[in-house]
């Protein structure tokens, strides 16, 4: 089971803060997972179309789309950070 978190403007655009799903067989990495999510939820396209506006973390570390996935991974999608 993958746990996926969404934060800030990404959370608002996808209209959820979290979801869980079984790691699909054809999903090997983050790029694949995004394709899968876009099939499940077409409205995700508004935020996932511009790579510069979305950051990805796997197990709380920022990664790129080539990052491989394992069952049990904690994934998060969020915009560039603006703390401080």
């Amino acid at each position: 089971m993958l746990t996926i978190h969404y934060f800030a403007s990404v959370r608002e655009a996808v209209e959820r803060s979290e979801e869980q799903l079984e790691l699909p067989e054809n999903v090997a990495n983050i790029g694949d997972l995004i394709e899968h999510l876009l099939l499940l939820h077409p409205h995700f396209e508004t935020v996932f179309q511009d790579d510069r506006k979305i950051l990805i973390a796997v197990n709380q570390t920022v990664v790129d789309k080539s990052q491989a996935l394992d069952p049990g991974d904690e994934i998060a999608f969020f915009p560039p950070m603006t703390g401080g």
Partner: protein, 157 residues
């Protein structure tokens, strides 16, 4: 050493803790970030808008880990005697304190450099996001180009 909290903090208390923890300290630098009423202006495409509320969201767990990594990297680069980082989350009003970084060292340059390094990385690498409300309008604050540039200078060193 690192706190993510809704409550306000006291500079005086943090300073005294740094002094005590640091022992034979020569230099203490503190940075306090405060919510401005007129956000934006120079360097922000939106121009200035009066802030009524600033909402701070974060990624619990990853926030603490990323700040611990940033502080750990600073401790490797400079001989620090004590470090303290506080970041507030939730709803804040103009002129409220939002972030604190305190560094204690034997010499001033190390304390200054470490405090700036921690702030530069905190701004762009710790998972916090600001939403600004001005009257009926509210929007997520854009990342600043100047903050990305501030990170770049640490690449050489």
């Amino acid at each position: 050493m690192i706190s993510i909290q809704r409550e306000d903090f006291s500079l005086e208390q943090e300073y005294q803790k740094l002094r005590t923890e640091a022992g034979d300290v020569g230099a203490i630098v503190t940075f306090t970030g405060i919510v401005r009423e007129l956000y934006g202006g120079t360097g922000d495409k939106r121009g200035a808008a009066k802030t009524d509320t600033l909402y701070l969201e974060h990624y619990p767990g990853m926030t603490e880990t990323s700040l611990a990594n940033i502080v750990g990297a600073a401790q490797k680069k400079w001989p620090l005697l004590a470090v303290r980082v506080i970041h507030r989350v939730g709803e804040l009003k103009p002129q409220e304190q939002i972030v604190f970084v305190g560094t204690a060292s034997g010499h001033r340059q190390d304390a200054f450099d470490a405090a700036q390094y921690i702030m530069d990385f905190l701004k762009s690498r710790a998972p916090f996001w600001k939403k600004q409300s001005s009257g009926k309008d509210s929007h997520w604050v854009d990342a600043r180009v100047s903050d990305a540039e501030a990170l770049a200078r640490w690449q050489d060193s």
